[in-house]
Amino acid sequence: MAGSSIMENLFQRSLEDLIKAMRLQLIGESTFISKATEEIRREIKSTDQQTKSTALHKLSYLSSVHGVDMSWASFHVVEVMSSSKFAHKRIGYHAAAQSFNDDTPVLLLITNQLRKDLSSTNEFEVSLALDLLSRIATLDLARDLTTEVFKLLATARVFVRKKAIAVVLRVFDKYPDAVRVCFKRLVENLESSDPQVVTAVIGVFCELAAKDPRSYLPLAPEFYRILIDSKNNWVLIKVLKVFAKLAPLEHRLGKRIVEPVCDHMRRSGAKSLVFECVRTVLTGLSDYDSAVQLAVEKVRELVVDQDPNLRYLGLQALSVAAPKHLWAVLENKEAVVKSLSDDDLNIKIESLRLLMAMVSESHVADISKVLLNYALKSDPGFCNEILDSILKTCCNNVYEIVVDFDWYVSLLGEMAMIPNCQNGEEIENQLVDIGMRVKDARMELVRVGRDLLIDPALLGNVHLHRILCAAAWVAGEYVEFASNPFELVDALLQPRTSLLPPSIRAVYINSVLKILIFCLDCYLLQNDGSGSLYSGNLDGRQSELFSVKNDTEATELATCGGSNYEQDVGFNPRNTAEPSEDLSVENGIDRAAMHGKTFTSNLLEKKNSMQESIVSLLNRIELIFGPLIANQDVEVLERAQNILSLVQLIKEEIIDNSGQSVDIMEKKDTRVSAIINSMRDAFTTELGPVSISAQGRVAVPDGLVLKDNLDDLQEICGDTELPSSSFGTGGPHLTTNSDASSSNLLNNEESGPLNECTSLIEHRKRHGLYYLPTEKSEIVPDEYPRANDPKSNSNVNDEAAELVKLTEQSLLLKKRTNQTKPRPVVVKLDDGDIAPISVKRPEPRDDSLSGAIKDVLLGNETGPSVSRSYPSDKSSRKQTEKKKLSTNGRSEMKENEVDAEKPDPESPNSSSKNHGHSKHRRHRVKEKSVEGEEHDQRGKKKSGHHHGRRKTHQRAKSPLNVVSQTPVIPDFLL
């Protein structure tokens, strides 16, 4: 046996051999590693400690650098940890720190080993154990080893004391009751004269204070002393972080520290310290103008520095300052704007953030325009950052900043046209949201929607589908504002819609239905026999609406939708008087000829042409939606089916009556109009924004189980393939159903975006029937400057200058309101309109931890002030007391230990009286403090801390002060 282990030992590869071999290997790294792992698996089972630990050493190397799993070896790790040789032990501890976690089963086995090593006389062993504890401590480990850690907190060996201090952080985190035992010693370490100890302990307090600053206010004097005395920048940075958290909580504290902080800022040569001072001032001391002034001065140096690191941090500091001190940003706006064209994306994003912080309603349009131009030239990532920040800024607080919604809606349209745009979802939400909230913007919305819908190229861009969805919805919902409903239907019916995912196709189909109802409604009204009054009615909608716009009474009627159509026109004779001044003509959007817009007074001719277009519309719908009946998606299928049935019903009636006498015609029409009227009524109810808390107000009906387990469903539906949401499935399915020629063409189209234009033209030639009027689509490229037309670099500078100018205006124009037209009404809900703020203030994460700390701090440090009645404090105290009672005698034992170690000459038997009740304890502390005072009065001032304590006690004695003060003794510093 012994012989074999020697052999093993001799032939075992050391870690160094392994690394060398790996560098020379020719078999591929992964093969080599798996071979090496096999070898290790063999070796690690050895009974020889040397062999075993070398194997483990190799394994932990492979694990940490090459990601080899080593969880299987955890028992071997424990074995090596318990070795008596330090070199082995070290390997074992390192492996444990690297691979153990809360779920490692062998964790239960190491408690005793750790306890032994923590109490070892060899400080390196102690150090190993502490380091492991800091990495893997669980509740059990922390609880069981608190005593050992506590002892180490006061050890004379600084080498282990500083580590013990750092470990306390993890112990507190896992086992808050440890606070009662260890906290006092931790605080004592703050007063240590050893710089190493102070470095460690301030790091711990920095972390603790970040979670729950309020609990540490009583320690302010100690921190203050460190801030004044320490020469170590690392320590100063940490202590500044603590103060940045504490200062906002206590006004008087800010007053005390503002001078020393500014001193450091002025004097220090270390950029890191100066920057920390700046950050502290801007976050915690932002009410002290002189300090902020100084900080902003420092920031100004940073933002123009050569070093990109400093520029970045400078901009970050500015965005910290922005909410309270916008002037700081404005002062540096040139640097900010310049950073927008920096090499570094991170810097650009910071700069963008600041730029948006400067935006005000007076020039949001100009800045957005310039930014949009930036976006066109930027890489996709930054482009979307820009779009995102414009969208977020503008929709903030229900479009607070937007005055001209027509502008904003067309801006949204322009954004959608940017090729790299990936913010489809946000644009979709805003388009729909504006539609519901802002009545006056609906006309522009429909126009923008139309422009998006008629462009067949857009359908190929996956990122735009959501926007198209919104456009289709808007077009259907607010069709009464459309200049040409027939054109909208054409756009919604174009064959490339097969590229859309089914959910969005369903929206398209529904919009077709809405528009169809609207058209039929108009048609029937025209036929209603009121005669010449309605000449040009369908196409005259536009002019009617425009004329109505001036008429406040009628505006309301018009926007209420088609139901008021009849009245509306009746009230508004101007409509008939000036039909030829149709605004659509003025706009140059001459769609008249196509849809039989003739201004002849010949009623019959008019009627016939109207009927023709209606019939052709019905035919087209039938032709396109016919194949959809076999669609895989239920929603698409059902909606298509519905609309088809309706079309068939109506078509019969309308076609039948052609050529028949007017009497019969009218009779038949009444049946159709009854249908249409009821359909129309269904659509005319106005949709408004929905409060986000609306769902909460709906009571759950009896018998409705919301959280039922639906796993069984998987078995039942397992074999039926659910339709995937991607448009891929919809596409081919449709093409197989449509006629051969069109399917060919569709395939052509899909073959590449480059062919799009030519194939489209071909399409149109062959199927003039369901395509948009050619001239319209050709206009599109002119209307929107294509995104990728490159601009020269000089333009960038021009634009930068322009931006500087624009931001300059922000201060001047802020007061001036140059509103050419009043801001339209934006519907707001009383509650739940604004989404709950996602960035919650970090709540004191660990109630038990902070409770325990308060208990200890207030109990020990400021006994007298606590004895005042203070309801919330009392309750928390009660809680902790309860907790204490519920935990077993162990913690009480420790309590006694603490007391035993206190120098307490006056009452040697008091610890026996102490039953862990804080009341007793407080009482005792009071006694002690009186004693301490006597000491002081004898002139034995030992430390600043002591000094401070004496003062509070005196203060606490005088009743007047006691009443007015909070329990956190902030006046320590005064």
Binding site: F124, T199, N232, P308, Y312, L313
Partner: protein, 143 residues
Amino acid sequence: MGIRFVLMVNKQGQTRLAQYYEYLTLEERRALEGEIVRKCLARSDYQCSFVEHRKYKIVYRRYASLFFLVGVDNEENELAILEFIHLLVETMDRHFGNVCELDIMFHLEKVHFMLEEMVVNGCIVETNKANILAPIQLMDKSS
């Protein structure tokens, strides 16, 4: 916990040292390292040394062929972490003499030891080079 992890990665993207101060599974580590390395190694010298990634802020610095990447939480002072990296490199330099990538590869446990002296539980506890190296030198002498 200020420092969440320390990584050393060479120009080819191979990890030379990985020290985590919070537990992540092997898969999480591998994914995280991959993402961070891809992000940071693609950056030029004219760009700043701070990258935000998931919940971390990565502060990195390049020395010859080796990248030192330190993941910290949002509270940490970036410039101080840059100094920390420099301190680590100086400490290694003092110990190994003209430290290079190979030194770190073949003496990984020593580098881990230095780190253990400097950082406990994510807090920087020691910034004095002599103090950091004392236990290692003692161990070298005894072995």
